[in-house]
Symmetry: D2
Subunit: 158 residues, 4 copies
């Protein structure tokens, strides 16, 4: 397993981009499909393309997502997962930062499944939870959210 | 349960759009993240916005997706699911057609989970499976793929 | 892919066993953990051990399960899935019949995900849906519930 | 939200029971169905019935599980999840300890999804990872494995 430090240098996301991520997450939440839980969530990720083509072109971008539920519950897709899938589809496979938004008075930490999804593409990502209350937005490193993570290396990959 | 016929009139997707869907599904498959299964999949959906704003603006669009796997396997996201999530996020909640592409010699039908996801937003959708072999592409109505479907009405919704 | 007919001869489950399956499914539903959906489900499967040891010993048994939900919704485990996992753990990997019970006035068909799970171990299984109303219990063959199923053969297995 | 301390007093599992859990997890792994990942896992949980009937009867028991995969990957069921579902079905809804076994040279921590499943029934559980190497078995409290967990309280339950 290659040292993750080589693949994922410490994430640096500017304050400007953090504001853009928060706005994008909030916007995405508007179309959340949550008739069962009534729990509306939006998310945005800041992602990097490892090999931009042609070289020198823009290599970082923001992708958003909302939760999309299903009557069988198990096929509920979380906002973070949806945003990451969009990034991967376009080749932005390094997730540097994840911002979650819920229209609540307190911020919501990502569930264990989303932590696992983030770990696959951003084991050194920063995760921030925002809500409708002013003030402090909790912020975590992935090493705190999912310590001793199960990941590609457990299957001899990555 | 309201009659589905009211909500979902028989899907009509032009041959032109079917070609565009097939091309979109194939393009999406290029960035499939499938280090575990090595089974690359792309998908595209033709979706409609129930209430376009402002009224009269374009109400139909194509969304694509690829499979995105995870070391824990359970968090694998399928191409069809990813494409539908993108449509829903932008308010295109009626799925009219789904096209699947696999770079194989025979076409691949959607799994039961994807049929369940399609049913939530497109119980009358047409599903087409394409691959690298020329000729016949299997085509199904959802009523054939998932008869007597479990859906929102089982939970008193929809 | 070996012919499924060899592996899965037409399921024959006696009426006596069908009654036992229905009773087992109903009993299992009592402890369903469904604080989110309030939708209580029980299931029972009739399963066979391909290679009983010592040879000649009993090779068929009934396993039950209930739905177990999770606050994140996606980790909801369905009754059918739980019952099948119990059978597999003890080596009973051929699923011959599945009976579902819901404490409702109308019977509930299995969702697409459960059809996919059943297909892995019982592509020729019989599925029956029971409820609290007297009379007809819908019954399907898997070939009707999940036609053109995606399965192990798509990945070169089975 | 009631204080978790009331519901889940600090887990105390005897060394004798820990040995029994480890043996049970290893036994369960024998029938793991893992043709896709080839990654065999067994698990056992020590669980308590909140309201044993009749009062005074045995209130604690061990339940085991193995991983059960599916060709569609997403319906893979993990060993921990399967064991917990068995406990819940019989009314043992308080998970006090989880032991994982993998036939590998290094121990395997639970994935994020399993941490989320454990959190629903055992937010104060102890988790131990065992393998075929002698010596140290990693041990965590859930508060370390899934800090700031998303759980029932986020949906106004629990």
């Amino acid at each position: 397993m290659p040292p993750r430090e080589k693949l994922f240098p410490t994430t640096k996301v500017s304050a400007v981009n953090m504001d853009a991520l928060a706005a994008s997450a909030k916007e995405a939440s508007k179309h959340a499909y949550c008739p069962y839980s009534k729990f509306r969530v939006g998310a945005a990720v800041y992602a990097r393309k490892p090999n931009p083509e042609p070289p020198g072109t823009d290599a970082e971008a923001i992708f958003s997502g909302c939760n999309t539920e299903n009557a069988n519950y198990t096929l509920t897709l979380h906002a973070e997962h949806s945003a990451i899938a969009k990034a991967v589809e376009l080749g932005y496979t390094d997730i540097l930062a994840v911002v979650i938004y819920t229209p609540t008075e307190t911020a919501t930490a990502p569930c264990g499944s989303c932590r696992q999804v983030i770990n696959e593409f951003g084991p050194r990502a920063v995760v921030v939870a925002t809500c409708d209350a002013e003030g402090f937005s909790p912020r975590w490193n992935m090493s705190k959210l999912l310590p001793d993570a199960f990941g590609p290396h457990n299957l001899g990959k990555g």
